[in-house]
C-alpha cells in the first residue's frame, strides 16, 4: 500500500511537467505566428502610407492641372450667340404664310484679364444669301438679308462700381433695348415704340457700374456717342449725343427694377432739318412668385431748328405667368407715331398674347398672336410660331 502511494506521488508530477512543456511550446509557436502577423501588418501599414502619400500628391497635381486647364480655357475666346427660326402669317401683308430664318447671331467674348474684356456681335438677319445678286431672277426683292456688326466694344472694369466701355453698344434705355434677344424675351415681335424713341445702337463711350445703396443697388449708365444717323465710319455732325440710364433694384421683389432713361441728340440729314431730340423714359419690372410684370413708357420731343416741335410717345404693359417650364402672357402696346411731312400723328395699338415653352435651358418654343389697330381702323393679325436657341453654355 505504501509502495503504491509513494509511486503515485513520484510519477504524477512527471506527467504534469510534460503537459506543461507541450503548452509552452504551443504558446511559443503561436506567439511566433503573431509576430509574423504583426510584421506583415506593418508592411501593409507602410504600403498604405506610401500609397496614400502618392495618391495625395497625384490628387494635388491633378487639381493644379485642372485649374490651369480651366484657366486656359476661360482665357480663350468664348463663342456664344443665338438663332431663331419662325413661321409667320401676317394678314396685313399679301404674302402667304412664310418660314424664315430670322436671326443667326454670333457673339464673341474674350475676358482678357480680370478687368479687360471685349465683346462683339455679328448678326445675320433674315438669312442673307450671299451668292445671289439682288434683282436677279432668282432673287426678287430683298433676298440678301443683312449682315452687320451689331456690337463691338472694349470694356475696362476695375471694380463693380465703375467701368468704361468704348465702341458700339446697345443703347442703355429701358428694358427691351437691352434685353431683346429672342431666347430670353416673351415675343419675337418687339413692342411698338422700341427703337422708335431711343436709338438701337450708340457708337461712343459708356461709363457704367453698380452702386450699393442701403440694401440694394443702383445701376447706372452714362454715355456719349455719335448720335443717330451716324455711320460706323464717322459722325454725321460735330454734335454728340448724350444719354443716361439709372435703375434701382427693388429689394422687396425678386428681379424687381425701377428705372429712368434719358437721351438727347441733334438730328441732321437730307430728309429733315437740324432737330434737337430729347427722349425720356421710365421702366419697371418685378416678379413675385410665378407672376412677372414689365412695363416701359417713353416719349421723345423733337424740336426742329426752324419748325414746330412735336412729340412721339409709347408704352407697353406686359404680364406673364409661369406654369412649370411654360409661360403664358399678355401685352398691350401703344405708340403715337408722327409723320413729319404731313405733321400728323397716328395712334397704333396692339394686343398680344403669347405662350412660351422652354424645352431646354437654351431652347424655347414660342407661339404668339398680335392684333394691331391703327387709329381704330380694322386691325391686322400677325401669328408667329418660332424656335429660339441660345448658343451659349
Amino acid at each position: 500500500m505504501r509502495k503504491w502511494l509513494v509511486l503515485v506521488v513520484a510519477i504524477h508530477p512527471a506527467f504534469a511537467a510534460a503537459d506543461t512543456d507541450n503548452d509552452e511550446a504551443e504558446l511559443k509557436r503561436r506567439l511566433q505566428q503573431l509576430e509574423q502577423q504583426i510584421q506583415t501588418l506593418q508592411k501593409n501599414h507602410d504600403t498604405l502610407a506610401s500609397s496614400i502619400a502618392k495618391t495625395l500628391k497625384a490628387g494635388e497635381l491633378a487639381q493644379d492641372t485642372t485649374l490651369d486647364l480651366e484657366k486656359q480655357l476661360h482665357s480663350k475666346l468664348q463663342v456664344s450667340g443665338y438663332a431663331d427660326v419662325e413661321l409667320r402669317n401676317d394678314t396685313r401683308a399679301d404674302d402667304p404664310p412664310s418660314f424664315r430664318i430670322h436671326h443667326f447671331s454670333l457673339i464673341l467674348t474674350k475676358q482678357v484679364d480680370p478687368h479687360w474684356r471685349t465683346f462683339a456681335e455679328i448678326e445675320y438677319e433674315d438669312a442673307p444669301r450671299m451668292e445671289f445678286t439682288p434683282g436677279a431672277p432668282d432673287c426678287q426683292g430683298d433676298c440678301s438679308g443683312q449682315i452687320f456688326l451689331e456690337a463691338m466694344n472694349v470694356d475696362y472694369s476695375p471694380s463693380d462700381t465703375v467701368g468704361v466701355r468704348v465702341g458700339r453698344f446697345f443703347t442703355p434705355a429701358g428694358i427691351w433695348s437691352i434685353e431683346h434677344y429672342p431666347p430670353f424675351v416673351a415675343t419675337q415681335e418687339r413692342p411698338l415704340h422700341i427703337y422708335q424713341i431711343f436709338p438701337q445702337l450708340v457708337d461712343g463711350a459708356l461709363l457704367h457700374g453698380a452702386l450699393p445703396i442701403v440694401d440694394t443697388f443702383l445701376n447706372y449708365d452714362v454715355y456719349v456717342g455719335n448720335g443717330e444717323g451716324s455711320s460706323g465710319h464717322a459722325d454725321n455732325n460735330s454734335k454728340k449725343a448724350f444719354g443716361m440710364r439709372a435703375a434701382v433694384q427693388l429689394p422687396w421683389a425678386a428681379r424687381g427694377e425701377l428705372g429712368v432713361s434719358a437721351y438727347t441728340d441733334t438730328l441732321t440729314g437730307t430728309s429733315q432739318p437740324e432737330t434737337n431730340k430729347f427722349a425720356t423714359g421710365i421702366h419697371a419690372k418685378a416678379r413675385k412668385g410665378q407672376v412677372a410684370f414689365q412695363t416701359e413708357l417713353a416719349s421723345a420731343r423733337y424740336k426742329p431748328k426752324d419748325g414746330t416741335a412735336y412729340t412721339t410717345a409709347g408704352y407697353y404693359v406686359q404680364l406673364g405667368v409661369d406654369i412649370s417650364a411654360a409661360t403664358i402672357g399678355y401685352r398691350y402696346d401703344y405708340f403715337e407715331e408722327y409723320d413729319m411731312p404731313s405733321t400728323t400723328t397716328t395712334d397704333l395699338r396692339r394686343n398680344s398674347i403669347f405662350a412660351n415653352y422652354r424645352v431646354h435651358k437654351n431652347i424655347v418654343l414660342k407661339l404668339e398672336q398680335h392684333r394691331t389697330t391703327r387709329d381704330h381702323a380694322n386691325g391686322a393679325n400677325l401669328t408667329l410660331a418660332s424656335i429660339a436657341v441660345y448658343l451659349g453654355e
Binding site: 502511494l5 509513494v6 506521488v9 513520484a10 504534469a16 506543461t20 503548452d23 509552452e24 504551443e26 504558446l27 503561436r30 506567439l31 505566428q33 503573431l34 509574423q36 502577423q37 506583415t40 501588418l41 508592411k43 501593409n44 501599414h45 504600403t47 498604405l48 506610401s50 500609397s51 496614400i52 502618392k54 495618391t55 495625395l56 497625384a58 490628387g59 487639381q63 493644379d64 485649374l67 480651366e70 476661360h74 456664344s80 457673339i107 467674348t109 475676358q111 480680370p114 465683346f119 472694369s157 476695375p158 471694380s159 463693380d160 453698344f169 446697345f170 437691352i178 434685353e179 431666347p183 430670353f184 450699393p212 443697388f217 433694384q249 425678386a254 428681379r255 417650364a325 435651358k361 451659349g392
Partner: protein, 359 residues
Amino acid sequence: MKVLATQLHRTNGRAAPRQRRTTGSSLVVFRSTKVEPPEPRSGVILILILALIAVGAWLFFTSLFAQRSGISTLLNSVPASIAPASPAPSSIAANAVLQPVIIHRPLVNTENDTDGIEPVAETATEIQPEQTATTAAATNTDAANADAADQRAPIDTSHAAAQILAEHLPMLEPTATAFTPAPTVGAAHTTPDPILARPPIVGTDNTFAPDSTPVVVASISAVAPPQETPNTKPAHRASGLVVIVNKANFSAFTRADISNIYRDRITRWPSGERILVLNLPLDNGERQRFSTEILDMSPLDAATEWSNRTITNRAQNEYRTKNADVVVSYIQHHPNAIGYVPAAAISDTDSVRVVFSIP
C-alpha cells in the same frame, strides 16, 4: 526519490544496528532487522506520515494546477493557428494611386443625400485598413483558423491609418467615415475617436443661421475686417446646405450678399479680386433648394437670367458648374471661390470656411 526506494528494498531483512529516521522530503524510511507487526505507536506514526504525504501532494498539485491554469488561459487567448496577414490589396499596392475623391465623402451618410454622393460604405471599402485584417482572415482557406482569427480582438489599424492621413493630408483631413465603418445617422460625434477627435464641425447651434445677425454687412463690398471672427470654427448642421469659401477668406456674408453674388451684382471680393462663383449642376436637387431659398427663383430662371446677362454683355462675372465634391476641393485650392454644397459633404473646416447655412 527512486534512490530512497531502492535503499528501502536493500535494507529489508538485514540486521540494523540502529534505527534511522530520515526526513527532508515527504518520505520517511525505517530500517529493521526483522519484520514485525507494527506496534500501536507505529500506526499513529503511519497516519501522520500519510497525512504529511497528503499535505505535500495537495501543495504540489495546487501549484501545478495554478501553473497549468495560467498557460491554458494564455493559450485560449491565442488562436490555435494565426491566420497569415494578407498582403496589401491591389488597391493600396505600393505603386497604386487611390482616387483622391474618397476624402470628400460625407461625414454622415444622410438619407437625403441625392447629390451624387455615394454612400460612405461603398467608397470607403477601397482603403479600409481594418478590412485588410478581417478580410484576410475571412479569405483564409482554413475555416477553423478564420473563426479563431475572428474571435480574437481585431487589430485596429484605423487609428494608424488616420494618423497617416493626418500626416499626409494637411489640407484634406481624413474623415472618420473614410477609414471606419460608416456611422449611423445622428451618431457621428457622440463617441469621438481618440485619434480622429477634432473640433466638431457639426454643432447643434447654427451660428450662421439665416436669421442670425451677421458680423457685418450691408454688402460684401463693405468688407469685414481681415481677422478671424469669433466663430473661426463655425458650426453647421450635418443636413441642409452650407455656403463655403476658402479658409483664408474672412469676408462676412448675409443672405443678401450671397444672393447678390449669385445674381452677378457683387462680383469682387473686397480685395478687388474676382469672385469665382461655383454652382451645382442645373438638375441638382441642392441647387433647386439653393436657388429657391436664396435667389427666390427656380434654377432654370436663374440660369436663363445669367445667360441673358451674358448675351447682353451685362454679365460682370461668370460661374462654373461643378459637382459638390469638386466644389469643396476647388474652394480649398482657390482663395477667391465661393460655392454651396450639402453640409454633409464638408469634412474639413480647416480648408474651407462655412459662412452661411441653410438648415
